[in-house]
Subunit: 137 residues, 2 copies
Amino acid sequence: KNDLQLEFKNRTIKHISIFEGVDEKFVREIALYLTPIVLTPGDYLFRTGDVANSMFFVKKGKISVLTEDEKQELTILKSGDFMGEIALFKKSNRTATVKSIGYSDIYELHKKEFEKVIKKYPDIALRIKEKSISREQ
Amino acid sequence: KNDLQLEFKNRTIKHISIFEGVDEKFVREIALYLTPIVLTPGDYLFRTGDVANSMFFVKKGKISVLTEDEKQELTILKSGDFMGEIALFKKSNRTATVKSIGYSDIYELHKKEFEKVIKKYPDIALRIKEKSISREQ
Ligand SMILES: Nc1ncnc2c1ncn2[C@@H]1O[C@@H]2COP(=O)(O)O[C@H]2[C@H]1O
Ligand SMILES: Nc1ncnc2c1ncn2[C@@H]1O[C@@H]2COP(=O)(O)O[C@H]2[C@H]1O
């Protein structure tokens, strides 16, 4: 069962756009760190101003990124996207509210392991960082 | 530095009331699982309805547990208290909003490790469970 789960994770990881072309070693390492989370329709993952301990990768579903008052939708995230990286990079609180539209399957990467990955794989770090900066514009 | 941190954690753990009288083996094991988090005044740890991936132990500070509309304060948590266990036990979303009053030092226990601890130490599980049930009344 664990082997199957791991195999499943490995496949998801390869579908995450910023992980395109990474080597097997990286895939195996990050797979160990990811925790699956299921979001049901309308579930909040977190809200603007919350303390940040993790970033997340979308495996399946549609996830809305909203302003604090929820009146503006900044983007919709889908399979292969990620979120929650800004607060980790900037050591700030959450800059937006993240809410699932339907059922979504996501993976959590905890701050502890995020920091390991960032240090050990500078090119991955750069890819996440670049996307992150473009979101802050 | 890591040894010092661990020693510091071990002392905190012994101050958490539900861990009173536990053996050294348990303390050493749970210390490995806890991640420190600093909350600044007014920081939200999470809010009613959010998805739950962790529970938390208070090392220092004052933390307010509020109803969803934040009009009622259910309790103030202090050194040695814990929060976030209800959603993990019930596999539900957060039943209340948790906000730091001043600066607080807390420890996070992730769902993955929470489940390990609960299985391996049924008497600790029972103590957390009992407190949890009393909160739901
Ligand atoms: N303008 C934006 N466009 C797309 N995603 C965003 C935007 N602003 C914030 N986000 C994402 O929403 C997340 C909210 O939490 P973080 O600030 O940790 O990280 C943020 C980004 O991943
Ligand atoms: N009436 C209450 N008194 C004290 N603590 C509470 C009360 N209701 C909820 N909590 C705590 O607040 C937390 C909110 O998230 P959880 O539902 O995971 O777990 C909850 C408890 O730890």
